[in-house]
């Protein structure tokens, strides 16, 4: 580990709203490392592979989503099922052998807490998923695949997220 990768002291002391973040977003990594911006390009590469897979397996297709919810095809169940099994095995191996990140940091997992949002919000998302034929990942892929009108869907999804944030305190959780 390079000494310049170490985070500055002020950064460490900066308070972070763990409650809000752990409840609402999956990205709660508090890495002690700080990198130049181009280190993020490795995530872009992971994204490119993921985008190719989403497109080639037609997961971004409205037809595949309709077939899933009409029980007319096994395809989506196969994809999600395999992904979960492979993901589970990987996580088990990482925990079992205490695998570290490429920077030598310990990999940490954060337990999620149950709240009513997972049911109510989940139902709302499900309605939108079957209507648009896309979850957030495929939205980006559909745009890349040339369906520029999906920019409207993405903008609307950002608006939906914003409206949730605005009314958050008044909603049952």
């Amino acid at each position: 580990m390079n000494p310049q990768d170490r985070v500055s002291e002020t950064e460490v002391l900066m308070p972070t709203d763990f409650e809000v973040r752990s409840l609402d977003t999956n990205c709660i990594n508090e890495s002690q490392l700080q990198h130049k911006w181009y280190h993020n390009l490795k995530y872009a590469v992971a994204g490119i592979v993921f985008g190719i897979v989403l497109t080639k397996a037609e997961i971004i297709s409205w037809f595949r989503i309709q077939e899933m919810f009409r029980l007319q095809s096994f395809h989506m169940y196969g994809v999600i099922g395999t992904a979960v099994v492979v993901g589970m095995l990987s996580v088990w191996l990482i925990k079992r052998f205490k695998v570290k990140t490429i920077y030598g940091e310990e990999i940490v997992f954060h337990p999620k807490k149950f709240n009513k949002g997972q049911i109510i919000g989940g139902l709302i998302f499900g309605l939108g998923w079957a209507l648009t034929g896309a979850c957030p990942g495929p939205l980006f892929a559909q745009i890349g695949a040339g369906f520029l009108v999906i920019l409207v869907v993405l903008a609307s999804a950002v608006a939906g997220t914003w409206v949730y944030g605005f009314f958050r305190d008044k909603l049952p959780h």
């Binding site: 590469v45 993921f50 997972q118 559909q142 949730y164």
Partner: protein
């Protein structure tokens, strides 16, 4: 080889590669797979509006924008260079049902009759695109994640709330596709 790649990929290939995204992101920098969070980061970056939910250091999550940008680019590469122009295979029953609503195009992954700029100005197109997108954004954040964050990352780490969320996603999807969508497509 290239001919095989150009065909649509089977579920076990796609599923395995998607599953491997989980360890890939963890190994690259302790990142938890989840895409809907970047909609929140977009709000935090562009329209925080003094809402506490959007007041945090979004710059620490900038990796997620790179990941999403990669998805966009990957789909472009797949469509431009790794695909055949053959029409999308669609279940015969679904095709027959859609024909009743005047949706017959399956030359690309999304039917033109619903996903085009012209359709945006029809009632059913507006509902599918604008209302649908809103439900996706509102619902995922309310649920604390989407298919990637809950169904794949969450269940991979054996989180009970994620299983509950995933079941809710499916219930909502079944309800829309089988009960509500026929009315919307008739509009």
């Amino acid at each position: 080889m290239l001919e095989i790649i150009k065909q649509p990929w089977p579920w076990y290939v796609a599923g395995a590669l998607i599953g491997l995204t989980v360890p890939a992101l963890l190994l690259l920098g302790n990142k938890h797979f989840g895409i809907s969070a970047n909609l929140r980061h977009a709000c935090a970056a562009c329209f925080p509006a003094n809402i506490s939910f959007f007041k945090y250091n979004w710059k620490k999550e900038v990796w997620n924008f790179f990941f999403a940008g990669g998805i966009l680019l990957g789909a472009f590469i797949a469509t431009q260079y790794l695909s055949t122009p053959a029409p999308v295979q669609v279940n015969a029953n679904l095709l027959a049902e859609l024909k009743n609503y005047g949706i017959t195009d399956h030359s690309t992954l999304l039917p033109k009759e619903l996903f085009s700029w012209e359709s945006l100005f029809t009632v059913r197109g507006f509902i599918s695109l604008v209302v649908g997108g809103f439900l996706v954004g509102f619902g995922t954040r309310y649920a604390g994640g989407c298919t990637s964050g809950h169904a794949i990352m969450g269940i991979s780490t054996l989180q009970v709330p994620s299983i509950i969320a995933t079941v809710s996603f499916m219930v909502g999807g079944f309800l829309m596709a089988n009960v509500i969508l026929p009315y919307i497509l008739s509009l």
